[in-house]
């Protein structure tokens, strides 16, 4: 635990001390702001931190166990378009008979590159590689694998603000999504005597931006609290696709309806977690997240890319 914390803090210190200059945004694409989502990832590199993300659920075991996950994620732009995220999750599983298992999952790292930001069409495309490093978590408890998993992933986000004005309130909708192919670094688990499948990891969100509605479509003069809300439905799935000999190719996943409140410096998200089948869990869980916009909180230090920022004055704005 301390080793991971020390590593993260050392990285934060390095970032804070590094010389940088020009700040841009978290996930803005033209007039569209795409919030950080809870079950999937938003389609932008950014300087941000989720601390914490807390999830409660009932596992698919019979009888089901109760599971708590507490995660911390930190994302940092290295250049304007290239970013790195690190994340760590602590898990507690309490079986029906009272047996308690606690520990850390494997340390996660994500390398991402911003391929496209089309302001006029509110379209963002991001590519990345997610790496869960083997033997960096609690392998003895079974919460972490002894092997790594590498997942090349494509992310996208699209706002509907480029629809004609006649579409009115529909223009406040946006979708995001991601598709990844997860490859374990070993194909067979000799401890459990099972094949380790390659998996398709994918998800999406449908969101409705009340801030966008107010500033781009129509100001309904709602109470200010409602103008900060983004109702959202997320979906996250995993499907084994290869090296799954003798096992069913069952898709597991959850549907997460919820809402995100967006402020100037942070956002708060809360979602229900609904398993799509018996193999995905038992009953409805819940996930909540406090997410910090580091580029807004610390615009001259952590909120800057490490390299590639310009020391020149901002350009004169033109349409």
């Amino acid at each position: 635990m301390s080793r991971h914390m020390l590593r993260s803090l050392a990285l934060a210190n390095f970032i804070a001390l590094a010389f940088t200059s020009h700040a841009l945004a978290h996930c803005f694409v033209g007039a569209r702001f795409l919030p950080a989502t809870l079950a999937t990832d938003d389609p932008c590199v950014a300087d941000e931190m989720s601390t914490p993300t807390v999830a409660w659920s009932k596992t698919a075991d019979v009888p089901p166990a109760t599971q708590w996950d507490i995660s911390v994620d930190f994302s940092k732009r290295i250049t304007e378009n290239f970013g790195v995220s690190v994340g760590q999750t602590w898990t507690q599983i309490r079986q029906a008979d009272g047996t308690l298992t606690t520990g850390f999952q494997n340390f996660g790292t994500t390398f991402q590159y911003q391929v496209l930001k089309d302001r006029s069409h509110e379209l963002a495309v991001l590519t990345g590689v997610v790496v869960d490093w083997g033997r960096t978590g609690s392998t003895a408890s079974g919460l972490a694998d002894k092997f790594s998993r590498v997942t090349p992933t494509v992310y996208f986000g699209k706002g509907f603000g480029d629809l004609p004005d006649s579409f009115s309130w529909i223009r406040a909708f946006a979708v995001t999504g991601q598709v990844g192919y997860q490859i374990p670094t070993t194909s067979f688990d000799f401890t459990q005597n099972v094949f380790i499948p390659q998996q398709l990891v994918y998800g999406a969100s449908l969101q409705y931006s009340m801030p966008y509605l107010k500033s781009e479509v129509i100001d309904l003069q709602l109470p200010e609290f409602f103008n900060h809300l983004i109702p959202i439905v997320e979906a996250s799935f995993t499907t084994p696709v290869a090296n799954n000999f003798g096992n069913p190719f069952t898709t597991t996943g959850t549907i997460n309806p919820g809402v995100i409140w967006v402020g100037s410096y942070f956002q708060v998200g809360l979602e229900a977690v609904i398993p799509i089948n018996r193999e995905s869990g038992s009953g409805v869980g819940v996930i909540g997240q406090l997410h910090l916009y580091l580029d807004d909180m610390f615009p001259t230090t952590v909120g800057q890319p490490l390299f590639g920022g310009t020391s020149t004055p901002p350009r004169k704005l033109t349409f």
């Binding site: 803005f28 302001r119 100001d219 807004d296 230090t301 004169k316 349409f319």
Partner: protein, 117 residues
């Protein structure tokens, strides 16, 4: 280095010399976003959630034919941007704005308002 020392150092480092500012969001506009006003407004007022950099913030207003109907350079005071408008006949007008908040974050947006009943 011990964990508490490193944590404290990190916090102090990131906090030092940093004034928190954020992206400038459009808080409200007059005429209001998407509204219909019975009489032509003489000016457009845009109020933002953050203070603006006047040299790098601008707004344009166009009629349905794409002709520009604002009077040019806006005046900016803190987080409020104003621009005069030519006499507007009944119709639909499109506002395009782009601003730079004082911490160099850019934001942009556009909306319509209507003049006439």
């Amino acid at each position: 280095m011990r964990l508490p020392t490193l944590a404290a150092t990190t916090l102090l480092t990131v906090m030092a010399g940093t004034a928190a500012e954020a992206h400038a969001f459009l808080d409200h506009a007059e005429p209001r976003v998407g509204s219909t006003v019975p009489t032509a407004p003489r000016e457009l007022i845009l109020s933002y959630t953050q203070n603006l950099e006047p040299a790098f913030s601008t707004v344009e207003v166009h009629d349905a034919n794409g002709a520009r109907v604002d009077l040019g350079k806006p005046t900016i005071n803190a987080g409020v941007m104003r621009v005069g408008l030519k006499p507007l006949p009944p119709g639909t007008y499109k506002v395009h704005w782009q601003v730079l908040s004082v911490d160099t974050h850019t934001t942009e947006g556009s909306f319509s308002f209507h003049v006439g009943k």
